[in-house]
């Protein structure tokens, strides 16, 4: 058999996002990595909720289910329980996954079914034409918040860690190479992988992630995480992060050596907690940079394994009754007509 390529995973449907939308890049990266995962299109399923981003499954030649708002997570859970052998992906948005679907998302994360959740965060409701979302910043002016939003935003990765997610990462639509790496790591992780992808909505929230994508700004505002490596950033790597007790601090490499810096250990839950709280506005004195890459990864039993483990154990432990025995139960009597 010929090796699979991106066209094998591409459907014949026209892609219908606004020109320039960040969703295009994410689609492209997903189509690029899928052939490398060793799973055929027929073993792969994309389940989405509702939103611009949730149109995603229509563009892939895999199995796909475009569900209802907020419930891709629970639809995918049922599917994965029944068919653990499938490669299952959830596509959701900041509104879909964190507002209406918040409950289903956190429960999926704590159960840790082995699937990938791609949370397209554009900090806005795209499909409904531009209301603030649960990740929009305080004070944001939108059609539904003409005086500025008074809703305190979620920090999606901190939320995921709070729900005991076993894999938490962040990517960016405009950094395709890095995003592909994150997606592949998520696919390799055995358990629920939550990947927050900063996605530009050029129609309703253009430039929301400019500090992390703009060539002139990004060096000072983003921190690219690599396992086993010191936390260091800046155009020349002139800044580093040290841990002062539990307090992260930005330091100049003029004053510190590499040995002083915090070494990234994605298996360290406490450090992941601290990293997830690197959530400052990226401009300003002593502002912590925004981390990208894998913040946390932990190996914990997967719900579907535990479920099938119980089913198998029960099957082996108890002799299965025939259906007739089941229907009869333990207490029967016979009446002669």
């Amino acid at each position: 058999m010929n090796p699979l390529t991106a066209p094998d995973f591409t459907s014949d449907q026209d892609v219908r996002w606004c020109p320039g939308c960040g969703d295009y890049s994410i689609l492209k990266q997903v189509q690029t990595i899928l052939p490398e995962l060793g799973r055929s299109p027929s073993e792969t399923v994309f389940v989405s909720g509702i939103g611009c981003s949730s149109r995603f499954p229509y563009y892939l030649n895999t199995y796909g289910l475009h569900g209802i708002h907020g419930r891709a997570t629970s639809i995918a859970s049922g599917l994965k329980m029944l068919r653990p052998e499938l490669s299952v992906w959830v596509i959701t948005g900041d509104g879909d996954g964190l507002s209406i679907g918040g409950n289903q998302l956190i429960h999926l994360l704590r159960r840790n079914l082995d699937l990938q959740i791609l949370l397209f965060n554009n900090e806005i409701y795209g499909l409904t034409k531009g209301q603030f979302s649960p990740t929009s910043e305080l004070g944001k002016h939108t059609k539904s918040s003409p005086w500025g939003s008074i809703d305190h935003p979620f920090n999606p990765l901190a939320l995921a860690l709070g729900a005991d997610a076993t894999f938490v990462a962040r990517g960016l639509d405009r950094d395709p190479v890095h995003l592909r790496g994150v997606l592949k790591a998520a696919a390799a992780h055995r358990g629920s992988s939550l990947v927050e992808i900063y996605q530009n909505c050029n129609v309703f929230n253009d430039g929301a992630f400019e500090p992390y994508s703009d060539k002139k700004l990004r060096d000072l505002s983003r921190l690219m995480l690599e396992s086993g490596q010191p936390l260091r950033y800046g155009a020349e790597g002139e800044w580093g992060i040290v841990l002062d007790g539990l307090q992260p601090k930005v330091v100049s490499m003029a004053d510190y050596s590499l040995n002083d810096l915090w070494i990234h250990q994605p298996e360290d839950r406490t450090k992941a907690w601290i990293l997830s709280r690197f959530f400052d506005e990226p401009i300003g004195e002593n502002a912590l940079p925004r981390p990208f890459g894998m913040l946390y990864a932990e190996d914990r039993p997967r719900y579907e394994e535990l479920l099938h483990g119980q089913l198998n154990a029960a099957r082996d432990a108890r002799p299965k009754q025939t259906l007739d025995e089941l229907l009869a139960g333990h207490n029967t009597w016979t009446l002669e007509g």
Binding site: G64, L311, R315, R318
Partner: protein, 615 residues
């Protein structure tokens, strides 16, 4: 000692929640079933989990109606009330027949118990009951039990706990039941606690012997076996039977059963029952809410499982959007609603039939699905099996309506053999054939392909789609075509479900009584009584409510008037009236959280017959 022959009797066991009345009632019904009677039982639990001991709100009751004739309801007023304390007497005395027998545990009527039951100081409820004409038999069960167990090695409190067995033994004597089945039950239950076993056996026998020797009763009763169809029987509750029906359907269809639910009274027992059958591969998923439950089930249906979710009213409301999705996806899904009193949280432990409109119409858009109803505890197995069959063979969601009265009630059930169950043949995709997700057969049914199958990748969703290809389509003509096609597919189901038929009574009756769900037994008893009395009455009971079954119109038109009794303000009635405008329908409502008494229906039929004659 006289023995009186009876055709049927109703006994109400009542006591404090801690008195073991459910077990007592259950034992009595088991034994009675073994003796060949037909029967029907209904538990009445307190709504609070731990209501204060001795109070009226803490009373737990168990009603059993049994006879040598067909029994279809838990009975109306009781012939015998067994009251273990004052609160039980207070709660249930008005449900005893005039001059009925009331057996009380004297020890449950001391000053403290009277006070807890809310009687005013100096009240003498037992004397009052006697004055009202009840035959009150006082037995100091607590003392008797203590004495019987004096050498048992059990502490006083532990010994006292077995006084329900004393009451059971006494009532066994009164109604001439065998001790054997309960002795065997106790042996199984306490096999590893020999002291407790001996104590319970001893107390059970002392109760029986007390009846024999104490000469406190004027009568014993004899109720011979019923002429039930020959075969093997077991007792079954509605919820248990329903769960077994789901398991059987999955196995017959060769699919895995995937059940998702969120706990809610009175549907939780379905979740409990299915959770027991892991060795058969039954998957039961306790979801975080009803939205997750229905959508997880949809995911499993997409994956090729027999997907089922069950709930009650408030949970149904949450599942609504998911059910709409299943309609659009045209996937098989069974949604069980074990109805309770509404609206909102309503009356969680009481019964009602007020979710029919919700089942038939309660969704956005033109969203038809199949609505079926179970009619009695022993009918739940077949109802569930049929609901699964329709869902799987027609690729359509089915709402199966049950209610608290059916779900918790129990009856003897002549269970079928696995072999006799009709095959279930879903329209499966076969690998190697071309696949277009919304291509249909002559019954408008699409084929079912699931992830993992080679060559059938497809994307489906809640957006309107092009017939055949399944691609998203907003095209005007296609939408109208699809709306009509989904409706026609549901209508077509009637061709595959048995025709409506007169279950009992005249083929051309003056009054036809049509019902659905748990009113079946009360209607049947009422119609039976009138038929025996020579009245021109008949009964039709619906399994299929949407669409209505074939042949219904013809039956309705043959009657002069059609009575529609329902435990709501009239929900089947307007649906029937809109569908069959030429028929003279007469609604009958009751909405008290209680089932109909047969007598209530009988009276209304009789009145209706009288008015028809005078016309």
């Amino acid at each position: 000692m006289e023995t009186t022959d009876l055709l049927q009797a109703t006994i109400l066991f009542a006591g404090d929640s801690g008195d073991g009345m459910q077990l007592t009632g259950f034992q009595f019904s088991n034994t009675t079933a073994f003796q060949g009677n037909d029967l029907n039982t209904f538990p009445d639990f307190p709504a609070e989990i731990r209501a204060p001991a001795g109070t009226v709100s803490g009373v737990s009751g168990f009603k059993i109606h049994f006879g040598s004739v067909e029994i279809h309801t838990p009975g109306g007023h009781a012939d015998t009330l067994v009251a273990m304390n004052a609160a039980a007497l207070k709660k249930y005395l008005d449900e005893v027949k005039p001059r009925g027998l009331v057996v009380v545990n004297r020890g449950g009527f001391d000053a403290k118990n009277l006070h807890l039951a809310g009687y005013s100081d100096g009240a003498q409820p037992l004397e009052e009951a006697k004055a009202r004409g009840f035959e009150v038999i006082e037995v100091d069960m607590s003392r008797m039990v203590r004495e019987a167990l004096i050498d048992s090695g059990l502490g006083t409190r532990e010994a006292e706990r077995s006084k329900n067995m004393f009451a059971l033994g006494l009532v066994y004597w009164l109604y001439q039941r065998d001790l054997g089945p309960s002795e065997r039950f106790l042996e199984q239950r306490f096999y590893n606690k020999p002291e407790v076993l001996q104590a319970n056996l001893k107390v059970l026998k002392s109760g029986y012997h007390y009846g024999e020797t104490a000469e406190i009763f004027n009568h014993r009763y004899h109720i011979g076996p019923a002429a039930l169809p020959a075969g093997r029987y077991r007792n079954i509750t509605g919820n248990e039977g329903l769960a077994l029906g789901l398991i059987a359907a999955a196995e017959k269809a060769g699919l895995r059963l995937f059940y998702a639910g969120y706990p809610i009274t009175p549907a939780s027992d379905i979740l409990h029952e299915l959770s027991k059958h892991k060795e058969r591969g039954v998957m039961s998923f306790q979801a975080e809410d009803e939205i997750a439950a229905v959508t997880a089930a949809i995911g499993a249906a997409f994956g090729g499982g027999l997907a089922v979710t069950a709930t009650s009213g408030p949970g149904m409301a949450l599942k609504t959007e998911g059910i709409g999705l299943a309609i659009m996806l045209e996937l098989p899904l069974v949604i069980v609603n074990v109805q309770r009193g509404g609206p909102s949280t309503g009356l969680p432990t009481k019964t009602e039939q007020s979710d029919l409109f919700q089942a038939v119409h309660g969704r956005n858009g033109e969203a038809p699905l199949v609505v079926m109803a179970a009619q009695s505890p022993r009918d739940c197995f077949e109802a569930a099996y049929q609901a699964c069959t329709v869902a799987l063979e027609h690729m359509v969601p089915v709402i199966l309506l049950s209610d608290g009265y059916i779900g918790n009630g129990a009856e003897p059930w002549k269970f079928p053999s696995a072999e006799a169950l009709p095959p279930i043949v879903p329209p499966l995709f076969r690998e190697g054939t071309p696949y277009r997700p919304y291509e249909r057969d002559e019954n408008h049914v699409r084929r079912w392909a699931w992830p993992g199958q080679e060559g059938a990748q497809h994307r489906i969703g809640g957006l309107e789609k092009q017939d055949g290809s399944g691609n998203v389509s907003y095209e005007a003509e296609n939408h109208q075509h699809m709306v009509k096609t989904r409706a026609a597919k549901v209508e077509r189901v009637a061709q595959f479900v048995p025709e409506a038929h007169i279950e009992l009574g005249a083929e051309h009756p003056d009054v036809l009584v049509i019902g659905w769900g748990s009113t079946h037994g009360a209607i049947r008893t009422a119609v039976q009584n009138l038929v025996v009395a020579g009245a021109s009455v008949a009964q039709v009971h619906l399994r299929l409510i949407h669409p209505f079954p074939r042949g219904l119109e013809k039956l309705l038109l043959r009657a002069k008037a059609v009575l529609v009794p329902e435990l709501n303000l009239g929900q089947l009635h307007p649906l029937l009236q809109a569908t069959y405008p030429k028929v003279d329908f007469r609604p009958l409502h009751k909405i008290k959280g209680q089932p109909f008494l047969a007598s209530e229906i009988e009276e209304v039929i009789a009145e209706l017959l009288a008015t028809l004659e005078t016309v």
